[in-house]
């Protein structure tokens, strides 16, 4: 029983990191129609900056998360304003452009921070563990679950209860009309892209506890994000949350039960979802 609970907690905490990663990418895809393949690279940039602030400079984890999010947010904003904006209505060019940035950002990080992987880190007050059903369980993982839940509620509120979310939902359905109503879609898009990149960067610092900090994270995290999106469905917070937790839990039990074939449980889930429900579990028709 405790084996089950521990693995479930592992899965849910990993799933929350996956949710953090995928939610931002899913929002941008749903609201702006842009598949941002550099999303994982933003995560990586956030992770490195966060590591510098929280570990190297010895500040708190909170400041690290803020700095990581801000760094990634600014990189994202620069990419959207400087380049992506000019490729409006050209989804192929947009997606390819963002893919070029995976290479650019990964190599820049390698240049600045060097190739050696950083150890996972977390805040001082989160080191140590709770006792759960007679087993020690790291506090940091519980913190990740809480953090994911808070962010999930926040994003859901932003999506369904605010003017911003309404603009996004309207913009998605009919860009011309939204623009005709005098809503500044350009500004809205810039804000959405910044928020999405910020979440990615912050997730890089939060997830560092589980995934560490490496220069190959950009591609790895991208892959995880898109599996979550394919499984959960595009364009909604709920989809990213469901996809993230499902994949996290399946991965945790996969690793526990078939350590040799761990990664395949994820792919298998994805393939089954694609065959049974190509739009993803909570996705709209594409």
């Amino acid at each position: 029983m405790s084996w089950f609970v521990i693995n479930l907690l592992n899965g849910v905490s990993y799933g929350m990191v996956l949710f953090l990663i995928a939610s931002g990418m899913s929002i941008v895809l749903g609201a702006m129609g842009i598949t941002n393949l550099a999303h994982g690279a933003f995560y990586m940039v956030g992770a490195f900056v966060g590591w510098t602030v929280a570990v190297k400079l010895g500040a708190t984890l909170g400041l690290g998360i803020l700095a990581g999010g801000l760094a990634a947010g600014l990189v994202g904003l620069a990419m959207e304003r400087g380049l992506l904006r000019h490729l409006y209505k050209q989804p192929n060019e947009q997606v390819l452009l963002t893919f070029g940035f995976v290479y650019i950002l990964s190599n820049v990080c390698l240049w600045v921070w060097g190739g050696w992987p950083r150890m996972p880190f977390t805040a001082k007050f989160l080191t140590g563990s709770f006792e759960i059903m007679g087993r020690a369980y790291p506090k940091a993982r519980i913190a990740i679950i809480l953090f994911g839940l808070i962010l999930g509620v926040g994003l859901w509120w932003l999506q369904d209860r605010t003017r911003m979310g309404a603009i996004v939902r309207a913009g998605m359905d009919d860009k011309e009309t939204t623009m005709g109503l005098g809503i500044n879609l350009e500004l809205a898009f810039a804000v959405i892209f910044f928020i999405s990149s910020f979440i990615a960067g912050a997730a890089g610092v939060i997830g560092a506890q589980l995934l560490g900090v490496r220069t190959d994270l950009g591609m790895e995290v991208l892959l995880l994000a898109l599996i979550v999106i394919i499984v959960g469905g595009v364009g909604s917070i709920q989809g990213a949350l469901l996809g993230g937790i499902l994949i996290g839990v399946i991965d945790a039990f996969g690793k526990a039960l078939f350590p040799q074939m761990a990664m395949f449980t994820m792919y298998l889930t994805m393939i089954i979802v694609l065959i049974v429900r190509p739009t993803g579990l909570l996705g709209r028709k594409i």
């Binding site: 895809l29 598949t35 380049l83 000019h86 490729l87 050209q90 989804p91 192929n92 060019e93 997606v95 390819l96 452009l97 893919f99 070029g100 940035f101 995976v102 290479y103 650019i104 990964s106 190599n107 820049v108 390698l110 240049w111 591609m219 892959l223 898109l226 599996i227 999106i229 394919i230 595009v234 040799q260 074939m261 990664m263 395949f264 792919y267 994805m270 393939i271 694609l274 065959i275 190509p278 594409i286």
Partner: protein, 332 residues
């Protein structure tokens, strides 16, 4: 993506001259090159073929795939596995096997990936490619002892008594494979099937309405393209003497995409020119700035998309058209 237009009734001399000239140059040039240079030329031809196969899917049919290395790698792994487990070197066995394996992988991928359309196709092909990567990484049978990937591949045995390949003759063997593939691909894109792919790229629903089974065309295009990528993979294994999980995954899938886009999508020779530019830059980067190669590659790619969307090959073609008109090679 800006894609050049097909012309249905261009003067045949004008289109043939560059092809013949190109073939001639490719046939003569190794005589003036060192073994290193010949190796580079071999690499160029292999990647040009790989990029051309990719062009069928993305350039002609408009399917943005990020998993094309799976077929390339399948061809390569077929060669490597036959060598590793059965010590088979004979080209007439390994090549068909590689071709079949790549085609088979493409046929399976297509069933899953063509469940979705548009950008989602890219996401799914990406993930499927990474699945094979991860398979090759984790399954011991798919690696030489104590490593990730398979070594110990030699130049192929052509089964001709008293003859074994060296760098130069291997180049010519690759050249022959390349030219045969070119002819087949050229016929393909000029056929009704090829034009139908372009129609699908432009407007799927109209194609359905005038009587085309769009899914079947996409699927067939993907499988055919996978077969040619497989041939490139077979040749690559012999060129490289080593295959690794990377040759199945995203790092390799990115290459034909870069080449096809840089050279000119949806044009027949664009990917070849893209491959030439790519190998050229790669070679210089590997000498002078090996650490910064991904940065250069990414930067070049971004610049192409922002500023040279038609591709370098299309610009060259336009220059050729001007020249050929001015000197009266053809009537305008």
């Amino acid at each position: 993506m800006v894609v050049a237009n097909r012309r249905t009734d261009k003067n045949s001399i004008m289109t043939t001259v560059p092809y013949l000239a190109g073939a001639l140059i490719l046939a003569i040039i190794p005589l003036f090159l060192s073994r290193y240079g010949q190796g580079l030329m071999t690499r160029f031809l292999i990647f040009a073929l790989f990029a051309m196969s990719y062009n069928v899917v993305f350039g002609y049919a408009g399917l943005l795939s990020l998993g094309h290395a799976a077929f390339f790698g399948a061809g390569g792994y077929a060669v490597a596995l036959l060598k590793l487990h059965y010590n088979v070197d004979l080209f007439w066995i390994t090549a068909p096997f590689g071709l079949l394996l790549a085609t088979f992988v493409a046929a399976l991928f297509g069933i899953v990936a063509l469940r979705v359309t548009g950008i989602y196709f890219l996401l799914v092909t990406f993930a499927l490619g990474q699945m094979l990567y991860s398979l090759a990484w984790n399954v011991k049978w798919l690696s030489s002892k104590g490593m990730q990937g398979i070594t110990g591949i030699n130049l192929p045995d052509l089964g001709i008594p008293g003859f074994s390949l060296d760098t130069t003759s291997f180049y010519y063997m690759v050249l022959i494979c390349f030219i045969i593939s070119c002819i087949l691909l050229y016929r393909l894109v000029r056929s009704p099937f090829g034009l139908a792919l372009v129609g699908i790229r432009e407007d799927e629903s109209r194609m359905e309405a005038v009587g085309y089974n769009v899914w079947l065309y996409k699927y067939t295009a993907l499988v055919i393209s996978g077969a040619f990528a497989g041939i490139a993979g077979v040749l690559f294994a012999y060129y490289n003497f080593f295959v690794s999980p990377n040759h199945l995954g995203i790092a390799t899938s990115f290459l034909p995409m870069v080449m096809a886009i840089m050279g000119g999508l949806g044009t027949f020779l664009g990917p070849v020119i893209g491959a030439a530019v790519f190998i050229f830059v790669e070679t210089f980067a590997s000498i002078f700035l090996p650490q910064r190669w991904p940065l250069i590659l990414g930067g070049l790619f971004v610049l192409t998309i922002m500023f040279a969307r038609e591709g370098i090959g299309v610009y060259l073609w336009k220059i050729w058209e001007k020249v050929s008109h001015r000197y009266g090679i053809v009537e305008g």
